[in-house]
Amino acid sequence: MSGPVKGGATVKARAELALNDEFLRKAVRFTTERLRNGKKKASEEHGNWEEWRERGRQIRLHTIAHLDYYLNLFVNNARANGVHVHFAETAEEAVKLTLDIAKHSGARSVVKSKSMVTEELHLNHALDSIGVEAIETDLGEYIIQLAGEMPSHIVIPAIHKNRYQIAELLSKEAGYELPPDTTALAGFVRKKLREKFLEADIGMTGCNFAIAETGSMVLFENEGNARMVSTVPKTQVTLMGMERIIPSWSDLEVMATLLPRSATGQKLTMYMSGITGPRRSGDADGPEEMHIIIVDNGRSLQLGDPEFQELLNCIRCGACLNACPVYRHIGGHAYGSTYSGPIGAVLTPSLNKNIAEWDDIANASSLCGACYEACPVKIPLHDMLVYLRRRKVESGHGNKLESIGMQGFASVMGSAKRMSGIVKLGKLGQKLVAKDGEIRLKLGPLKGWNTYRVTPSLPKEAFRDQWPTLESELRNELREMKPDMLERMKQVAERQKQGGGGGHHG
């Protein structure tokens, strides 16, 4: 095999790459199935799931609707706790601040726990450029960092690697041969990263929730690496999306009920940590200096936009990925961005303020509504996908095919009653996702994408040859469609037929 090559430039090409990797397909399906079943079991066992979802939604809606108050409160309280708080309107500003902190701390290495925001900023690369080693310490993230790749799933980032590939990567790192045995591999990583934790000058974390009333930040994790990076190094730097706020610890109970169950089916992650400022004067561990960088990077564009504001309610659980028949089929890399799956399909173009070039990803969705059903805070992702398409057409960037796609959707829905039941709805999914048996996606011009490499596997089958698999899968999904979901889809179609005006442009 030759060396790694650049990933395909188009979503379609990437989907083909993904679809031709038999292991990836199986792994994605197996993992998403496992997580989905876990969530189902956990939510049923807990009971009253709809009430909890509604409560979670209300708390998020309330916080975002008063974000100026709550974020400001958080900032003032965090400062009072001794945290150095910073604001970054753009990714560039966030990177600049981080590098400034790294330089002033004289840092040689940074240990990181999982953070989607730092992925979004391509922070590792930036640190590298000033000679600071950035080490991902989440097991899955560490593996894909060694491979020079991007995460393919929010919760399980190395979902696409098998243990032989992992053993090879880690053996290279170890300088000796490691067996393809998960315990041995994890044991090696534990030892290796222990040294890194103890050596590192800076610990970098993301932030699941930030509690406004006490200025605390909360991290959910299973491995203990987030605790490591926030306990051992002298300086802690936390990057946090500006929307991560919740008002109180009482509200955290609702989030702690929804997030782990939706993400992995756990009652609670093995660790949930609330960190309130740097170490106290008498303490012998914890960071001496703590920074929190609050990142906008396109998030505020959603504020005040009735169609998309709810995007900010997302708690990054990944349940919509696991529920999405398209994600399950093509995997995360085909989306070609930090955030994949239904949430990525909507969030990426929204954060990039670039509806014209990005909504090809939105088309890689079946609009079946499974993402909404799965979402613990009830974000209407399937409606947003439709809004995105409409905006593209309205802004003059749509082409005929897009419009036909929309009409097709509307007319199929319009005559849904006359059609012989749900099986036909499988075709609806097909219509929207595919044209001539190919995922109807064109260009996804990605800056970040260039940094991603895939090991080439010779395409044996074209994507369209695998189309029947996806079709039958979608058909099965849709057969399970609940009546209210069907109703919702009809309503969307109805709105489309009536011209669907009243869009809000930025």
């Binding site: 909890w52 604001f87 994890a186 990583v189 990263l193 491995e223 490591m228 306990t231 009482s250 093995m270």
Partner: protein, 246 residues
């Protein structure tokens, strides 16, 4: 020289603080503008605070709580022992030290844990250190080298099978994190039914009273990142004993 350097670091932080405060106003005003309301300066009514009411009324009997905690903790690969007294807990830890040939034990500086008198009960050859009991030791390094960490739970939650440990000068965050094996002493009367019963205490305490680290621990460190295969003990302790005392 060192002094000068420190000063410039402080100056740098002060400059960042000024910049941050200026930006804060701009940031918040921008948010308010987008939301279409004037800057909010007082707390809005929050009718949906916390868990739904039906949940707040949910409660288990003390025996149910012990059972629930035990079942949950076991289900994620933790170990549980029900013990009558601290002396029994000490004997239990000593037995495990014998079994696993533990050489170094680190405990929190806590009156209840002092009562365990581990120095006397542990087998010969095992040494006991007490977190932050002198200024010379590198306590994080001591914790990283410890075979056993011994802590007491400040709270426990039956419904999720979790314990809560709060940091303090005598109670390092590292003690429940860096050793290979973790023992958590839990007085049974501290086991509550719901997570919310513990979380609301932090609202009641308020910002100024909170410790730097509040950690909920629900079992051994774990990962399923390699081929969905469950691996125990990735970064934190892989072997965790919940010792229910009383």
């Amino acid at each position: 020289m060192a002094n000068q350097q420190q000063e410039s670091h402080a100056e740098w932080l002060a400059r960042l603080a000024e910049e941050s405060k200026a930006k804060q106003e701009k940031f918040m005003n921008g948010i308010a503008k987008r939301l279409g309301h004037p800057r909010m300066t007082s707390a809005p009514a929050h009718p949906y605070r916390g868990a739904p009411d039906f949940w707040k009324a949910y409660e288990w009997t003390p025996e149910e709580r012990i059972q629930g905690f035990t079942d949950n903790f076991l289900s994620v690969g933790g170990h549980v022992a029900r013990l009558e007294s601290l002396a029994d807990a000490a004997a239990f830890i000593a037995g495990k030290a014998e079994e696993m040939s533990a050489r170094t034990v680190l405990r929190q500086d806590d009156p209840a844990l002092a009562e365990l008198r581990l120095e006397e009960t542990l087998p010969a050859g095992a040494s006991v250190s007490v977190w932050n009991s002198d200024d010379e030791s590198q306590w994080k390094t001591v914790a990283a080298g410890a075979d056993f960490g011994v802590v007491q739970a400040d709270h426990a939650v039956a419904y999720t099978g979790s314990v809560t440990v709060l940091s303090a000068s005598g109670k390092g965050r590292s003690v429940s994190l860096l050793p290979t094996v973790l023992f958590i002493v839990i007085p049974v009367e501290r086991i509550k039914t719901r997570l919310g019963e513990v979380l609301t205490t932090f609202d009641e305490t308020g910002r100024e009273g909170l410790p730097a680290g509040i950690h909920f621990i629900s079992g051994p460190s774990r990962s399923s990142d390699i081929e969905n295969d469950l691996t125990i003990g990735v970064h934190g302790p892989g072997i965790v004993y919940a010792l229910l005392v009383g």
